[in-house]
């Protein structure tokens, strides 16, 4: 009888945990964080299909560090970004970069942006430290920024990149529709550029 009660209790706890993961944010597994706020280098060349007069670089950078995104989650500053050269782009070099090009031909066809993670080590206390993550961008797609009209076949660079930076910070996908980390978005929808309560709870959990 005692074993049965314990087993049922364990099942109940697991069911609650799983129900939580179905209806809310999810962290990357294993759970991992940066030691200090990462400074993402945003490609100074910009994205050539963006016609906001700045090729999208400043708006992308500003969206990443905006108080409407990760830094407004209530955990203080969790990410910085600087418009700079990404000439030395390389996975695993410890410098997080957002490349507006695709230097290795990784992201063609139906790929819009690719984020490579996996660079983490275990700290002495058993938690995991992220030491690099990099983003590349398809040059075969038409992008728009919030500083211009969206044509209907374009994708907003801010929304996609704030989502990708969420992964860079250690977040997985949320099943909450309307969250930045929700895994589906359509053309001309820049909603993911502003985080939702669910995204903010995830960041507060991590940082």
């Amino acid at each position: 009888m005692k074993t049965r009660i314990i087993s049922l209790s364990v099942l109940f706890v697991i069911a609650c945990l799983m129900a939580g993961s179905v209806s809310a944010y999810v962290l990357l597994s294993p759970r991992r964080t940066w030691d200090s706020d990462p400074n993402v280098r945003v490609d100074s060349r910009g994205q050539s299909t963006i016609t906001d007069g700045d090729l999208g670089r400043s708006r992308t950078r500003n969206a990443i560090v905006s108080s409407n995104a990760w830094n407004g989650s209530g955990a203080g500053t969790v990410v910085n970004a600087t418009v700079a050269s990404v000439a030395g782009w390389r996975l695993g070099d410890g410098i997080p970069m957002l490349n507006f090009r695709d230097p290795e031909g990784v992201c063609g066809g139906n790929c819009l942006a690719a984020t490579f993670t996996g660079f983490f080590t275990q700290r002495s206390n058993g938690t995991f430290r992220i030491f690099d993550a990099d983003i590349v961008t398809s040059t075969g797609r038409n992008w728009a920024s919030a500083g211009e009209a969206c044509s209907g076949t374009e994708f907003f660079i801010e929304g996609v990149m704030v989502h990708e930076v969420g992964h860079l910070l250690g977040l997985g996908h949320s099943n909450v529709s309307g969250a930045t980390m929700f895994p589906t978005v359509s053309t001309c929808n820049n909603g993911p550029a502003s985080t939702a309560a669910d995204d903010e709870a995830a960041i507060r959990d991590l940082y």
């Binding site: 074993t3 049965r4 087993s7 364990v10 099942l11 697991i14 069911a15 945990l17 799983m18 993961s21 999810v26 990357l28 597994s29 782009w89 390389r90 996975l91 695993g92 230097p103 290795e104 990784v106 992201c107 066809g109 139906n110 790929c111 819009l112 942006a113 690719a114 984020t115 490579f116 993670t117 996996g118 660079f119 993550a133 797609r141 076949t153 994708f155 996609v160 989502h163 990708e164 992964h167 997985g172 996908h173 895994p183 589906t184 978005v185 359509s186 053309t187 001309c188 929808n189």
Partner: protein
């Protein structure tokens, strides 16, 4: 009860997502239009290495072709994807096709240079062949939960479902026939 507990735990672990990339949804007609061939095959061997530039990890799989569903393909296909593990240096690249020796799968293949192919549409063009308890084979979409999907038409994206393998291949052939990729 113990079996049930283990099953629930395994499911919970399997449901844990990884990092992601963003892809435009592709459906079968688009996969066919962009592919040189679609094949059913078995993965013989997989190995990962740094690209010649030293900037990214590449994984190459050798796939023995059991059946060409449409198009032209050699008896053994070399397929490359990104991400992998080189001497413990792991690059996670979710949304990109993944291979393990022994797996059977259906692949839509895009030609690449030097005799190396890529999977059309990344994970959209990869389906695992799995058998149920009754021995019926299914084509199970490889698309994982870590993939961020955007739609071109503004409609919600419905994740593809497993289909009986024979039915799936018949549909692919029929679509390929209608689009002139298979002659009557």
């Amino acid at each position: 009860m113990k079996r049930l507990l283990i099953a629930v735990l395994l499911f919970a672990l399997a449901a844990a997502p990884m990092a992601a990339s963003t892809f435009v949804a592709m459906r079968t007609p688009e996969l066919i239009a962009d592919s040189q061939a679609a094949v059913q095959g078995q993965v013989l061997k997989v190995h990962s290495f740094w690209s010649p530039s030293g900037r990214i990890v590449v994984t190459e799989a050798l796939v023995r072709v059991e059946e060409t569903i449409f198009g032209d393909a050699p008896s053994i296909v070399r397929v490359q994807t990104f991400g992998g593990n080189v001497d413990g240096f792991i690059v996670e690249a979710d949304g990109f096709p993944k291979f393990e020796a022994g797996q059977r799968m259906v692949l839509f293949l895009s030609p690449e240079k030097d005799g190396v192919a890529r999977v059309t549409g990344y994970q959209f063009g990869q389906f695992h062949v799995q058998r149920d308890k009754a021995g019926v084979e299914f084509a199970v979409p490889a698309l994982d939960l870590g993939t961020n999907v955007v739609t071109k038409d503004g409609k919600p994206f419905a994740r593809p479902q497993a289909v009986r393998l024979d039915t799936f291949k018949d549909r692919v052939r029929e679509t390929a026939r209608r689009s002139g990729r298979i002659e009557n």
